[in-house]
């Protein structure tokens, strides 16, 4: 049973997705079905993480006599499709399943006025399949296939409110970006296949020689995944997509973006880590891209009037922190003394920031969705005095805003502090930009809080009430996670984040299984 966990992680949500359309016109039932399925995947991912952290890398070979049989006798190269799960994959899988569950729970009430919900939930679970496939696979072509699944499901969900023209506009933007990016990924995969005759990540990583053609492949992969994770200057699709998607889909869509970030890390750390030359340069590019991303994202956010769009620009800005943290680690990867001194902690900061950001950004976007659910508008200038009408939403918003600005004792502080301390050791200028970004973030959230929640109560919101219970429960879970992760950061750091970082650093472990020469 345990050895089949990686396959079950895909099979369960896929089963859920294909059975969801059977509940046509039974909207309450299909919501509950989605909540059950995503809940099961949360349990499966926790089991998987426990197994991986205690027992090392799990390899699952599809269609083999024994799922762990990588090289049957007589073969010298792996030829089957396989999943390879290390601590980093398990970490991403937990984020993905948890956020899909929260999203399904929140959607129970949030989209109850829409039609076609059986398709909505089918797409939600397909999006989860895409993310899980991307983070668990050990095969380059499968990475492409799951990237496309996540891209198609995600853009169909962005365009879900098809009675609004804006939703289709954002949907086609997202789809074109993700189609072009994944085609370039496929092109790079073709280049690598042409040279090494195999699609297995570990096998290629072991044999990579880094000639001219490999460099082109690295460039294509790096650019495409940076495009998909919303790094400046390829960030333009993020605010549109995050704004137009129903708020219940925001958490899984965020994780889908960070699955591309995971692929970026996988490519730089696992696929090309054997190459000592030039890796520091790739790390510098990643760090500088991170600084630019955080700074440009936050300055764009300051001028927004639409509450969800403002938060979407912050999502771009926060991606910069992750790129910075992990980029600093990549810069010193082949320098053991510096790596022990600050590189490992920098990467821990970057990776920890992924899950922290997913939690508080989902919380913030959900409060924005709650405001939209109640008031029917997203324009900040038309809101006001809602704190008394919606106390729980207001408190959730405050928790999320404090966390994203990096105030102690919330979770954003824990990871940002790690990033500040370590990037300072590489270059103080990086830290200055990161801290200025934090201050600007706080400033823009004060603006939102003042205009939406404070001020005199408006007449047109006389009869507004707090949002329905499932939405409140989803928000409270996330707010509680914000505080728990902030108060006891070591709990998560030791159990999940440092194993994930060590999995990235000890890339040789990922390469060696089954006596592969």
């Amino acid at each position: 049973m345990i050895e089949h966990l990686p396959a079950l992680m895909i099979a369960v949500p896929l089963f859920g997705a294909f059975t969801a359309p059977l509940f046509k016109k039974h909207y309450k039932e299909v919501s509950i079905w989605a909540i059950i399925i995503t809940g099961i995947t949360v349990i499966l991912s926790l089991l998987l993480a426990k197994e991986v952290v205690t027992g090392g890398i799990m390899v699952y070979v599809f269609g083999a006599d024994k799922p762990t049989l990588v090289l049957p006798s007589g073969y010298s190269v792996p030829i089957r499709i396989m999943f390879e799960v290390d601590a980093m994959s398990a970490f991403m899988a937990i984020s993905a399943t948890l956020m899909s569950f929260i999203g399904a729970l929140y959607s129970y009430s949030h989209v109850d006025r829409e039609t076609g919900l059986e398709k909505y939930y089918a797409l939600l679970m397909l999006l989860e399949v895409g993310i899980l496939g991307m983070v668990l696979t050990g095969d380059l072509f499968n990475l492409f296939v799951f990237l496309e699944i996540a891209g198609i499901a995600g853009s169909a969900l962005v365009g879900f409110r098809n009675y609004r023209g804006e939703a289709s506009e954002a949907g086609i933007k997202y789809l074109i970006v993700s189609a072009v990016a994944s085609l370039m990924v496929l092109f790079a995969i073709g280049i690598l296949y042409g040279q090494y005759g195999n699609l297995n990540l570990a096998y290629i990583a072991k044999n990579v020689s880094f000639n001219m053609v490999d460099m082109i492949a690295l460039g294509l992969l790096f650019t495409s995944f940076a495009m998909k994770c919303g790094a400046v200057p390829m960030h333009y699709w993020v605010p549109d997509a995050y704004t137009e998607v129903p708020a219940g889909i925001n958490p899984p869509l965020l994780v889908a973006t960070y699955a591309s970030l995971y692929a970026l890390f996988r490519v730089s750390f696992t696929l090309f880590a054997n190459v000592v030359v030039d890796l520091a340069r790739v790390g510098w590019i990643m760090s500088i891209l991170g600084v630019l991303t955080m700074f440009i994202g936050v300055t764009m956010a300051l001028v927004q009037k639409d509450v969800k769009r403002l938060m979407s620009y912050h999502a771009i800005s926060q991606t910069g922190y992750m790129l910075l943290g992990v980029g600093v680690g990549l810069t010193v990867l082949h320098d053991p003394s510096k790596l022990a001194e600050f590189g490992r902690d920098a990467m821990a900061g970057g990776v920890f920031h992924i899950i922290n950001h997913i939690i508080y950004k989902s919380l913030l976007l959900m409060t924005a969705g709650a405001l939209f659910y109640v008031t029917g508008t997203r324009n900040l200038n038309e809101m006001g005095g809602l704190a008394r009408k919606m106390p729980i939403t207001a408190i959730s918003f405050m928790v999320g805003a404090a966390a994203i600005s990096g105030l102690p004792p919330f979770n954003g502080f824990a990871s940002k502090l790690l990033i500040y301390e370590t990037s300072y050791r590489l270059n103080p200028l990086l830290t200055v930009f990161a801290m200025v970004t934090s201050v600007l973030t706080l400033a823009s959230f004060v603006k939102v809080f003042a205009s939406a929640f404070l001020g005199p109560p408006l007449e047109k919101f006389e009869n507004t009430r707090e949002v329905p219970k499932p939405m409140i429960i989803a928000m409270i879970i996330l707010a509680a996670l914000c505080i728990i992760f902030g108060l006891f950061p070591n709990l998560v750091l030791d159990k999940l984040v440092y194993p994930a970082v060590d999995a990235l650093i000890n890339f040789a472990q990922y390469h060696s299984w089954g006596g592969l020469a």
Partner: protein, 121 residues
């Protein structure tokens, strides 16, 4: 005849198609043409992978039926399997993009990408 040009001919076509696809996505104003540009890109990438697996005078990779002279001259099935998968995915992507285009035309009354700009700022 220069042999190397002839051998590399498919890759030259791939390069031309890639350039054409990026040009169409970047500079055409009609949304349907942008979709066609994505399709051209996809064709280029598919052709690249098929060309990688091409063996001149090769045999189909069916071991039970293979004549003795086929040993060492079989065509690799993997690139073709990859291309088939990629084509199937491409059809889904195109269908969804065209559906979006239809919906956009319904709401905006135009397919000009410079006029479809309600989301901005």
């Amino acid at each position: 005849m220069n042999g190397s040009v002839f051998v590399n001919f498919p890759f030259i076509v791939v390069a031309v198609l890639l350039a054409l696809g990026f040009y169409t996505i970047g500079f055409k104003r009609n949304l349907i043409k942008v979709v066609i540009g994505v399709e051209i890109l996809e064709g280029a990438v598919n052709m690249f992978i098929v060309a990688l697996g091409y063996v001149k005078g090769g045999y189909a990779p069916i071991y039970t039926q293979a004549p003795p002279e086929a040993v060492g001259k079989m065509v690799l099935p993997t690139p073709q399997a990859l291309t088939l998968t990629s084509i199937v995915i491409g059809v889904a992507v195109t269908a969804l993009m065209l559906a979006f285009a239809v919906n956009i035309y319904k709401h905006y009354g135009t397919l000009d990408v410079t006029k479809i700009r309600r989301l901005r700022g």
